[in-house]
Symmetry: C2
Subunit: 334 residues, 2 copies
DNA sequence: GTGAAAGCGCTAACAG
DNA sequence: CTGTTAGCGCTTTCAC
């Protein structure tokens, strides 16, 4: 069995309380004693039992993270960020994957709530009221979503779309299609809205293409619609969809970008590797993960005082090879 | 504050012990009492504190999972499998990402050991002796690696390579290159060995191409070597590398598969979506994750009796569009 | 069947 | 500065 605080106390010839102090608040114990305790602890390979500690302090040192789909590179990157930040702050993280099912979010939330200090809900698919209903004991921070007053970390989706659209307009595109993502995705709504606003300002026609699953297949399915829409450029909900678009366009022999420009969103690793390399709106995934942990931890420490409850990170268009000057068209607004 | 067992006991007019029994060993308490307790528990939204329970039972209901890189789709899939199986067994899982650094594996291992019942070490990069040194308090199961007597779940890498090579041989290839992955990767060693054995049996020349990072970039870097080697086909350590190969080959105007056949390994989602679609050795990632949890749990329950300590899952070649009959060559073994 | 009491490993008052 | 005491929420003897 592993060494307990008692063993260390014994070995060092002090009380358990002293061991506890020597290890957690070193300045409260005399240097010589501290040294003795530390030596004993090292000797025995003592590592405090966090569960036992949590029982009394109310802090477990654990964070929970719930994501829709780990196999989506976007979320994988977020998880890496969260995990790294948590580790730096000496916390561990529970991971849970909902498989894009809104229903299990609440379940997982409740299941984890007791074992963690705080919970990060990444891109939750559940409706607002359902999220509000979960008044867990533990602090919840939303990521990639805003719902009421719940603290959140988001990225400036609307501005990213603005950059993408302005880029296309500058290239002469006057009719642009948007391939929408999941209806229940907050990011999707934000992106749509940002696009609509910018389209009005820029005098561009925006064609809205139904809702598609945020995956490669979604893009494949949407490609023909985009072509038929008469648009000369298409902006996809995310890179996976954009990659699907590229694939189907290629299969149909429609050259990108000469006949059709394509813009993605997220800047997942794959997008730099496609042929041609994808122009995309870069989202700071890792940083968002880190920021969320930061917000959560500050909330836990300060008890919601001081620090702002919302944090919004910037997005940045990355121009690669899938966008080009618009081809001459037949009947465009001009 | 959340409801405790005391609250429930009070509400139901019984003792804490009865509540505990009614919930954990229902057959030990009279049906009417049980009903009363269950009602009270539901009423108060009572959920037992697992940390407190763990303190006494010695079981936390938590599992730990350590992977080299979450952003590698292969590991993402494994994590999904692990997570799903754990959830089905009412366990939670801690995730940790080592960023491919062998050094942090032991650290993470020790950090998590106290908080979990069992640990899954996925594709560990640390050398055997270092792994052996970690005699954590918690049960450790290796995945994608074998080291001494440690329980493990692996896939039949060698057989997968055999299938790939036989396929190429059947297509007339007589000189095949292998782009190796990380030197410290056990899978890589297995794949190399399997390949060498099959090459001898099949009278094929095998060209070994240095060690490359198991990523897209690795493949990009290896492509020119593969071409220069005079091989008519190349097998990559994994799909990411194969995709990089495809990319560089395309950039150089070398048609795949007519001038060069390419085979990957793992069958990550992306490989079906590349152009042309990648021929690859499919590895049951999710299933491996599930199997590992199964093994771990059985070990925890049975205390290592009965069930075998090693489990090997089959691999399966999937022929898609990157392999073809070998082109006529100048000076081949023939 | 059920309750009382002890105790898992640890920290937080409170004395000294 | 350090030891003593109490108790976090839960399960488990051991009586009844």
């Amino acid at each position: 069995m592993a060494a307990t605080i008692r063993d260390v106390a014994h070995a060092a010839g002090v009380s358990q309380a002293t061991v506890s102090r020597a290890l957690s608040m070193p300045e409260l114990v005399r240097p010589t004693t501290r040294a003795r305790v530390e030596a004993a602890a090292r000797e025995l390979g003592y590592r405090p039992n966090r569960a036992a500690r949590g029982l009394i302090t109310g802090r477990t040192g654990n964070l929970g993270l719930i994501v829709p789909d780990l196999s989506n590179p976007f979320f994988a990157a977020v998880v890496k960020g969260v995990q790294a930040a948590a580790r730096a702050a000496d916390h561990s993280v529970f991971i849970a994957d909902t498989d894009e099912e809104a229903g299990v979010e609440a379940d997982l939330l409740r299941a984890l709530a007791k074992q963690v200090d705080g919970l990060i809900l990444c891109s939750p698919r559940a409706p607002d009221d359902e999220l509000a209903a979960v008044d867990s004991d533990s602090t919840i921070v939303l990521m990639n979503r805003r719902a009421g007053d719940r603290p959140s970390v988001t990225v400036d989706n609307a501005d990213g779309m603005r950059q993408a659209l302005e880029h296309l307009v500058a290239l002469g595109h006057r009719r642009v299609a948007f391939v929408a993502g999941p209806r229940t995705s907050w990011s999707n709504t934000q992106r749509e809205e940002g696009l609509h606003r910018s389209a009005e300002a820029g005098h561009v026609e925006l064609v809205h293409l139904g809702h598609f699953p945020p995956q490669f297949e979604g893009g494949v399915a949407a490609a023909d619609l985009a072509v038929a829409s008469g648009a000369t450029a298409v902006i996809a909900y995310n890179d996976l969809v954009a990659l699907g678009l590229l694939s189907r366009l290629g299969a149909r022999g429609i050259p990108v970008p000469s006949a059709m420009s394509v813009v993605g969103c997220d800047d997942i690793g794959m997008s730099a590797m496609s042929h041609p390399a994808l122009t995309t709106v870069s989202v700071p995934k890792r940083a968002a993960g880190r920021a969320t942990v930061g917000l959560l931890l500050s909330l836990l420490d300060a008890g919601a005082d001081g620090s702002p409850l919302h944090r919004e990170l910037p997005t940045q268009l990355i121009v690669r090879a899938t966008t080009e000057v618009a081809p001459p068209t037949k009947g465009t607004t001009r």
